[in-house]
């Protein structure tokens, strides 16, 4: 059974609509949620958790309908949204004391274990923690009530490469036993290369693609050719960048027999995102 199912989620704003957002995640995997700023990542996460009212659709957590079983579902979820925003003067143990009262299934031993594992001292104050340590403290809290699904909104933004790598190690450790899953949004593409099994790509409030990372990359190819090629094959080229010697662009791998003598190369996630966004803004 899927740990998370989002079906036809909808949220309307005057200037923006989240439309028919659907994806699912099985236990034991990490899903990266990508898209430009303002594409609807945070709105999707908030609507999923009922932090903002939704205008349609259904969210299932471990087989339970979220809107009908909100408390049960929240017990199964750990989430960190944006900036870690606790009282900066408080000691970590004071904050943990408040949080643990919210959860029946609070596991003190697990909490102590994570604090130790992350190298965090309960006697420290929030203001004494680095950005990476704050995210880790948030994770320790989120993981200590036996959550099966972690929802993290840009957990790695603002972290240096070393702290980021460290955090990704932690996330891979969380799913290692195959019972828990993580949904996290990011626009740091190298995070996804290191640590995402599935990718859900949102553009302008709609899901463009939600699939495993290997299929995602194999769906596209980079091509390069001269300006004549560009004109000849413009119908199958998805976005392109021109340079002095010709152009580089993206095609769907299924069109690879239709490109004559143009050179191809495997597509990386960053190129897929850049060229796709370029094409989408041309069509807008």
């Amino acid at each position: 059974m899927n740990i998370l199912e989002v079906e036809g989620l909808r949220k309307e704003y005057p200037e923006f609509t989240l439309d028919n957002v659907s994806f699912s995640l099985e236990p034991g995997y990490i899903m990266g949620f990508i898209g430009r700023n303002g594409a609807g990542k945070t709105t999707t996460m908030k609507a999923m958790l009922n932090l903002i009212g939704k205008d349609g659709g259904r969210v299932m957590i471990d087989g339970l309908d979220y809107s009908k079983n909100e408390i049960e579902c929240k017990k199964k979820i750990g989430f960190i949204m944006g900036e870690f925003d606790y009282y900066k003067q408080s000691k970590l143990k004071t904050i943990a004391c408040v949080v643990k009262r919210m959860y029946e299934d609070w596991d003190e031993e697990a909490y102590k274990g994570y604090m130790k594992h992350f190298g965090l001292s309960e006697e420290k104050k929030v203001k004494e923690l680095s950005a990476g340590m704050r995210v880790k403290f948030g994770l320790a809290l989120a993981l200590s009530h036996n959550a099966k699904l972690l929802i993290l909104d840009e957990p790695t933004s603002g972290l240096d490469p070393v702290s980021r790598d460290d955090l990704l190690d932690v996330l891979r450790g969380v799913i290692e036993d195959g019972t828990r899953s993580i949904l996290y949004s990011t626009h740091i593409i190298s995070d996804l290369e290191k640590c995402a099994d599935y990718i859900t790509y949102i553009h302008d409030g709609r899901i463009l693609l939600s699939t495993d990372v290997v299929s995602f990359k194999e769906k596209y190819l980079l091509v390069s050719g001269d300006m004549d090629d560009l004109a000849r094959y413009s119908d199958i080229i998805i976005g392109h960048k021109d340079h002095a010697f010709g152009f580089t662009g993206l095609i769907l791998a299924e069109n690879k027999d239709r490109i004559g003598s143009m050179k191809t190369a495997p597509a990386d996630l960053e190129s897929i995102m850049i060229y796709t966004e370029q094409e989408a803004s041309l069509n807008a």
């Binding site: 034991g28 995997y29 990490i30 790598d165 990704l168 190690d169 891979r172 450790g173 799913i175 290692e176 036993d177 195959g178 290369e193 290191k194 640590c195 995402a196 099994d197 599935y198 495993d212 990372v213 290997v214 990359k217 190369a265 495997p266």
Partner: protein, 125 residues
């Protein structure tokens, strides 16, 4: 897995690098037939890649008959006959061999000259 490393940002996809590492281990006999492979999730964690990446490599290895899955107990290096090993070695050499021959042709080398060069190269290594 000993000797298996992933080069990030390589044009060779990570799952292919894993495939190549394990495949060459099995074909060369460094990983003996019947050796259990570590669980996919452990490999993913240790190599710092996603679970799906390792699973794709395992699927490809299984499709090529290099590993076998036993229900409930994981994956093992396939026990291959010397005939099968021979065939796989030749298959692994197919592409580099073709490239070598076509380069030699372009340079106008005769078969004998090429053979002599290969022999010398082998001794030097």
């Amino acid at each position: 897995m000993t000797g298996l490393t992933i080069i990030p940002n390589s044009p060779v996809p990570a799952y292919r690098q894993i495939f190549d590492g394990i495949a060459s281990g099995i074909i060369s006999g460094r990983i003996a037939g019947g050796t259990p492979l570590p669980p996919i999730r452990t490999v993913a964690k240790e190599l710092g890649v996603s679970v799906i990446t390792v699973r794709s490599a395992w699927d490809a290895l299984e499709a090529d008959g290099l590993i076998v899955t036993r229900a409930g107990s994981g994956c093992y290096a396939a026990e291959l006959t010397s005939f099968e090993l021979e065939r796989m070695r030749l298959k692994a050499l197919e592409k580099p061999l073709r490239e070598l021959i076509s380069s030699a042709k372009q340079l106008g080398m005769s078969v004998d000259e090429l053979m002599e060069t290969v022999k010398k190269g082998c001794i030097a290594q």
